[in-house]
């Protein structure tokens, strides 16, 4: 390619257009990042323990289970539907896994696979009731919320609690820490892969004569990721190390994001969430997409339940109960997933659960009464939904 070839570059937005985008609620992840910084400053100054490596490691461990369930919720929220059964399904599948593993002595991996398959089957049932019988997803999963909770109590029977052996595979999941060399290698590999893919994408676009941003921009973005990852690894390394649980959760977030953005399945998820009728006319099998979303939600709920059981080294009658479901939904919405469908990314689960969990964690450290904690969490959720609703109003002409 000759040096004189001038490639069109993507012009940055003028201030006026930037304001316009903002008015339409197209804020991206910035409100959440701002919120996180505010949380860190407020709680960090009120309690010196909040930003300590030990507490941040605990935070990372607390995030993984609910965050995984939240990922599943995002799959159905993207279609403009809701899954109220995710909490119950997570508890039920954790109980199934524990019974297989502890009572029947199954290989733990097999027990996990069977439990996740059970979650998928439950999701399939929800999806079929929703698409075939056309029951509103709200009602299907509300029935699921109660029904699967009932089945959980039935399976647990008299005792009400089953312990997982502390040195067993399942419990070990949440007590495994990456050795420093592995953590750093992983971080470097991630930054390299990210920066490399940006630069490769840029070259391919240039080769196809498509507009590109400036080259330094790819470096800046990769550098930003490098700083974030290095900070995270350094902090976690100062305590027990990078928890395997966090790596599993983050890997799911990244994997699902790639699927949503780069596969036809993902494209059709957004299409169905944006305008199901348009998707149908374009020849997309809308029913199949909807059923698959519920299957994904059920599977991820099951897996999240297993992670929660691993943390507790037990399952009991309140597995997947209390505020787990609301936290998972709130995390998705706070992270920027629209309740109206068609908008959001899997990183919402990561950012949203980080916000919710650090507020909860911070208030626990400050010995704030649970009554106040509930009200604060509810306010944050209401704020996120308000922003979402305004954004929707802004984007419908």
């Amino acid at each position: 390619m000759s040096a004189t070839t001038v490639h069109p570059t993507r012009k940055p937005y003028s201030p006026k257009q930037a304001v316009e985008r903002m008015r339409r609620g197209d804020l991206g992840a910035w409100p959440v990042v701002g919120g996180l910084i505010a949380i860190a400053v407020v709680f960090g100054s009120l309690n010196e323990h909040f930003l300590s490596p030990e507490n941040l490691t605990n935070l990372a461990l607390q995030m993984a289970a609910t965050g995984t369930i939240s990922l599943g919720i995002i799959m159905v929220l993207l279609l403009g539907e809701i899954d109220l059964a995710a909490g119950s399904v997570s508890g039920l599948c954790a109980v199934i896994m524990t019974i297989m593993n502890v009572r029947h002595g199954w290989n733990p991996l097999l027990a996990i696979v069977v439990a996740v398959a059970a979650g998928a089957a439950i999701g399939l049932l929800h999806g079929l009731l929703f698409t075939r019988i056309r029951m509103p997803s709200f009602v299907v999963t509300l029935a699921g919320l109660i029904g699967w909770q009932g089945l959980l109590l039935f399976l647990l029977g008299e005792g009400g609690t089953i312990n997982l052996p502390f040195d067993g595979f399942v419990a070990k999941l949440s007590d495994t820490w990456l050795p420093p060399w592995l953590a750093w290698t992983l971080a470097v590999a991630l930054v390299g892969a990210y920066g490399g893919s940006l630069l490769l994408g840029r070259r391919l676009r240039l080769a196809a004569d498509l507009p590109v941003g400036p080259a330094y921009w790819a470096v800046v973005r990769a550098g930003f990721l490098a700083v974030v990852l290095a900070a995270a690894v350094a902090v976690l390394q100062a305590d027990r190390g990078v928890p395997l649980l966090l790596v599993i959760f983050a890997a799911l977030v990244v994997l699902l994001d790639l699927v949503l953005r780069h596969t036809t399945f993902g494209r059709w998820m957004y299409a169905v969430g944006g305008n199901a009728e348009a998707a149908r006319r374009a020849g997309i099998n809308v029913t199949r997409i909807r059923v698959l979303a519920f299957v994904l939600s059920g599977s991820l709920a099951a897996f999240g339940g297993i992670l929660a059981a691993s943390r507790l080294s037990a399952v009991n009658q309140s597995s997947g109960g209390s505020d787990m479901l609301l936290m998972a939904i709130a995390a998705a919405v706070i992270g920027g997933t629209s309740l109206f469908g068609g908008r959001g990314r899997t990183y919402a689960a990561l950012l949203g659960i980080l916000v919710i969990q650090s507020i909860t964690n911070g208030m626990l450290l400050l010995n704030v009464d649970s009554s106040v904690r509930y009200m604060v969490t509810a306010s944050v959720l209401a704020l996120a939904v308000a922003i979402d609703s305004l954004a929707r109003r802004g984007s419908t002409p």
């Binding site: 391919l204 498509l210 957004y270 348009a278 020849g283 068609g342």
Partner: protein
Amino acid sequence: MIRAEDISKRYGAVQALEGVSLDLRPGEVVALVGDNGAGKSTLVKAISGVISPDSGEITIDERPVRIGNPHDAQALGISTVYQDLALCENLDVVANLFLGSERRRWSVLSHIRMERATRDLLTQLDVRIRDIRVPVAMLSGGQRQSVAIARALIGEPKLVILDEPTAALGVEQTAQVLGLIRRLRDRGLAVLLISHNLADVRAVSDRVVVLRLGRNAGEFRTADASQESIVAAITGAAA
């Protein structure tokens, strides 16, 4: 050439179409006009496979074809732009253009190939959109209609059917879309335009076909016909 011959369709007690015929040739814009309830939408639905007529025949280059559903119509090169745009407002222009027929390898989207094709197509059609990677919700009405029309061209159709494409647009955006329709004709496509607006019809069409009460009620070469004679055919008043 695409020809609908002697098409009839009855809905209960209503004879929506009775022996209607229509010829569509490459490189020609045909305007289908008529009063409300004249049967325009029903005829279009029969050609685009949304309904099956009770009797009559559709031929492409003299060969009879069976159009049982919209998919058949698309496979035969008949592409329809519905009145309600049928775009996904949350997706960008590229995603909307290729919706349902994404270029892919296995299941992985070929973003670059699709964006290249989108830019080429929009350039050829002289559709100007500043940033084709923002959600369609952020475009103007005329731009969205242009995207909907460009979308109809993705499968390389022979015939594009446009149902009231300018109904919701202002003066300037209407002019944009009419210009786009002319460029479709210049690409050698057959275009069937349904419109209530006689000014648009006269501005852009080569031939006007009038339906009245489910029957053919006149056919004019646009260049030779007066507004009065078309209106008279629509209303059934003696010219």
